[in-house]
Amino acid sequence: MLYNIFIDPFVQMAGAPDLLVQALWDGLVSGVLYALIALGFVLIFKASGVFNFAQGIMVVFAALTLVGLYEKGVPAWVALALTLVVMFLLAVAVERVVLRPLVNQPDIILFMATFGLTYFLIGFGELVFGGNPKAMITEQLGLPRGVIDVEMLGGRVSLQKIDIAAAIIASIMVAALAVFFQKTRIGRALRAVADSHKAALSVGISLNQIWVIVWFTAGVVALAAGIMWGARSEVSFALEIVALKALPVLVLGGFTSVPGAIVGGLIIGVGEKLGEFYWGPLVGGGIETWLAYFIALAFLLFRPQGLFGEKIIERI
C-alpha cells in the first residue's frame, strides 16, 4: 500500500515522462481557466468586499449571450461586441438594483444578494436563450481548432490549439489587468476603494462608478472564461459547476490577490490532474472533485489568508 502511494506514482512518471508532461499541460490549461474565473471573484471582492457567488453563472450567462445572439443571426464579432454591452448593462443594473440599495449593509447581506442574482441570471438566461446546450462559435471568432502533436520523451504530447489560445489570452488579460490596476487613474481608484471605502469617498472617488467598472471587468473576464470552457466542451449550465472550482483557488490564493488567483489556479489545476491521474486509481478514481478542496485546506492550515492574501489584523 505504502509503495502504491509513495513510490509507484513516481515510477510511473519516470516510466512515461510524456504522460507526465501531458498531465502537467492539461493541469496548467485547467489552472489558467480556473484562474480566469477566480480573477472575477477577486476583482469584485477587492473593490466592494462582496463575495460574488454569481461569478460562476456570469461565465455561463456571458457565453450563452454570445452564442445565443449568434444563433439569432447576429454575426460573430457583432455578437461579441453586443455581449460586452450586455455585460456592461448587467454591471450597471447590479450596481443600481443590488449594491446601491444595500450599501452599508453587513457583508453577509450582499453575499446573499449575489445568490439571488445567480438564480435570476439562470432563469433569465434560460428564458431568453433556452436551456439547450449550445456549441461555442470557436471558428467564427477566429479561434484555432485542432491539435499539435509533439513527439517528445519517447512518446507524444498533444497540445490543443484552443488550449494554447486560452493560455495566451488569459496571460494577456492578466497582464492587461495588472497594468490597468497599477498604471491607470481608474486602477488607482479601484485600489483605493479596495483599501478603504470611506477614505476613497473622502477624496472624491465615486464608489458607484467604481463598482460598475469592476463588475463590468469581472463580466469581461467571465466572457473570456466562458468562451474558453465552452470551446472545450459546450456552452451549458453545467459550466456553472465547473466555475465553482474557483472556490478552492480563492482559498489558496487569497480573496484579494490577483497574482494569488493566478498562482492558486495553476496549483489547483496541476494538483488535481496529477492527483487524479497518478493517485486516483488507488481509490477507484474520481478524486478530482474533492482533491482541489483538500489542497486548498492543506494550505489554509499554514496560511489562513491564502498564499498572497492580506494578513487580517484587527484591534480588539
Binding site: 498531465a23 428564458l127 439547450n132 446546450p133 498533444s158 466542451s233 459546450e234 453545467a238
Partner: protein
C-alpha cells in the same frame, strides 16, 4: 410561443404544482373524464441537453393523442410537467406534489429519483415507469409489482455491448485478456451496471478499468482520458448523461481514440456527437427504436402538434434519437392507460388500474402498426413476472450527420444477466426488511 406566454405558462404550472397537494384528483377542463399524467422533466440545468428532447417527445406524443383522438379511450390526458433539474431532492418534491392528485403513474427520468420511489410506489399505489433506466433488478414483477422498466435494463444493455464487442473480436472467448474501459457518471445511474460489468469481467476474462466522472466535472474530463491514454483499453464503454456525453466524445477525439471502439448505452443525442466535429464519426451507441420522422406516428405528431404550434420542440429536432425516445416512453404510458380502461371498463383510471394495464402490455406487430410504429421498434410483451421484456437492441453509428443502424438486433445475454438480476432482487428484499410479498392480482396470462 412568445416569452411572455412562456413566463405565464411556467408560472401557471408552477402554481398548479405548489397547490397540487391541496387539489383533488385532476379532471379535464370540460369536467369530463381525464387521466392525469405527470411528467418529471428537466429543461434546465446541467442535464438539460438530454432532458429537453425527451421532455418534448413525451409531451408531444400525449398531446397528439389529445388532439387527434381526444385522449385515450375517450378520456383526455392531463399532461403536467414538473421540473426536477435531474436533482433527486427536487424529483421527490415533484412526487409529493403530484401523488395526491391521482396520477396514473410517474416517470422519474432519473435513476437517482427512481431508487427512493421504489419502496413508495407500493404504498402510494402509483406505478413507476422507469423506461430502460433505474434499478435493473426491478424488472422482476413478482418482487417489484409497481415498477416497470421496459424494454431493456441497464444490465441488458451492457450485455448487448459486451456481445457486440465479442462479435467484432470473433466470439466471447476472444474477450479473454482484453481490456475494457468504462467511463460513467459517478452517480446512481452510472454505478448501476458496475456489478454486472465486474461479473462479465470475471466470467469472460477481460480486465475492467473504471473512469468515474463526477457531475461537477462533466465538462472537465481530461484526467479520465489521460488515464485512457495510459491504460490503452481495447474498447471504451460509456454510461453518460447531460454534459458528460458531448465532453467525453470530444475528449475521445482529442486523444485519437478509435471511435468505432467507443460504445455507449442508449443516451447520447445527435447534438452530443455533432459537437465533437468530424472526429466523432464512427462513435457508436445502442438503440431500440427508429430515428427520424419517417413513421406514421411521427407524421401525426408533426400534423397535430408541431404544425399547430403546440410543441416546444425546435424546428427540425423532432425525430432525433432522444425525442423519439420520449415518444416511445409516452406510447407505453398510453398503452398502460388503454389496457387499464379495457380491464376495468372505466375511462378515468387510477394508478392501481394502470399497474395492471402496464402488465398487460403486448405490442404485437399488428398493434405497432395500429400505433403508427411499424418498423419503429420491436414487439414487446410484459407480464406479471416480467416488467421489462428484455428486448433486443441494435448498434447505431454516427456518420457525421446522423446515427445509422450498423447491425441487426442483439438479444441480451439472459443466461448471464438473469441469475445476477435474480440474486440482486433477492438481495434487495433481504436488505429492506418487511418488503411485502406480492399480493397484487395478475391479469396477464
Amino acid at each position: 410561443m412568445g416569452y411572455m406566454s412562456k413566463v405565464l405558462l411556467s408560472a401557471a404550472s408552477g402554481a398548479a404544482m405548489l397547490l397540487g397537494g391541496q387539489l383533488g384528483p385532476v379532471q379535464a377542463q370540460d369536467g369530463k373524464d381525464a387521466n392525469f399524467v405527470p411528467l418529471f422533466t428537466y429543461r434546465t440545468g446541467p442535464f438539460s441537453g438530454s432532458g429537453i428532447p425527451i421532455a418534448n417527445g413525451m409531451r408531444d406524443y400525449l398531446e397528439m393523442l389529445n388532439q387527434r383522438d381526444g385522449g385515450v379511450g375517450g378520456a383526455k390526458i392531463v399532461i403536467e410537467e414538473c421540473e426536477t433539474g435531474y436533482d433527486t431532492k427536487k424529483g421527490l418534491e415533484c412526487y409529493e406534489a403530484v401523488k395526491g392528485r391521482n396520477p396514473v403513474m410517474v416517470n422519474p427520468w432519473s435513476t437517482g429519483i427512481t431508487l427512493p420511489l421504489i419502496p413508495r410506489a407500493a404504498v402510494d399505489k402509483i406505478p413507476v415507469l422507469s423506461m430502460a433506466y433505474g434499478l435493473s433488478a426491478s424488472a422482476d414483477g413478482q418482487t417489484f409489482p409497481w415498477i416497470f422498466n421496459p424494454p431493456n435494463t441497464y444490465w441488458d444493455g451492457l450485455s448487448v455491448i459486451v456481445k457486440h464487442i465479442a462479435d467484432e473480436l470473433g466470439g466471447l472467448d476472444k474477450l479473454k485478456g482484453k481490456k475494457i474501459g468504462y467511463i460513467y457518471l459517478d452517480a446512481g445511474f452510472g454505478k448501476e451496471p458496475i456489478p454486472m460489468f465486474e461479473q462479465f469481467a470475471k466470467d469472460l476474462g477481460f480486465e475492467l478499468k473504471l473512469y468515474p466522472v463526477a457531475a461537477t466535472d462533466m465538462q472537465n474530463q481530461s484526467s479520465q482520458w489521460l488515464g485512457v491514454r495510459r491504460d490503452k483499453p481495447d474498447y471504451m464503454v460509456m454510461y453518460g448523461w447531460g454534459a458528460l456525453n458531448p465532453t467525453a466524445i470530444k475528449e475521445a477525439t482529442r486523444i485519437n481514440y478509435p471511435m468505432n471502439r467507443f460504445i455507449s448505452i442508449w443516451w447520447p443525442s445527435e447534438d452530443d456527437a455533432r459537437s465533437a466535429g468530424a472526429g466523432a464519426k464512427g462513435f457508436r451507441e445502442l438503440n431500440w427504436h427508429g430515428v427520424g420522422t419517417d413513421f406514421p406516428v411521427l407524421k401525426d405528431i408533426q400534423k397535430h402538434v408541431v404544425d399547430k404550434g403546440l410543441s416546444k420542440v425546435a424546428k427540425g429536432k423532432e425525430g432525433e434519437v432522444l425525442y423519439n425516445r420520449g415518444v416511445y416512453n409516452s406510447m407505453l404510458i398510453a398503452e398502460g392507460i388503454r389496457n387499464a380502461q379495457k380491464l376495468t371498463g372505466k375511462k378515468a383510471v387510477t394508478g392501481e388500474d394502470v399497474r395492471r394495464g402496464l402488465e398487460a402490455i403486448n405490442l404485437t406487430p399488428e398493434r405497432l402498426k395500429e400505433l403508427g410504429m411499424e418498423g419503429f421498434t420491436d414487439p414487446l410483451k410484459l407480464g406479471c413476472a416480467d416488467h421489462n421484456g428484455h428486448g433486443a437492441a441494435f448498434v447505431q453509428e454516427w456518420d457525421g450527420e446522423k446515427y445509422v443502424k450498423i447491425g441487426g438486433p442483439i438479444k441480451p445475454m439472459e443466461d448471464k444477466v438473469g441469475p445476477v438480476a435474480a440474486a440482486a432482487a433477492k438481495d434487495y428484499v433481504e436488505k429492506n426488511a418487511g418488503w411485502p410479498k406480492r399480493s397484487e392480482a395478475c391479469d396477464s396470462k
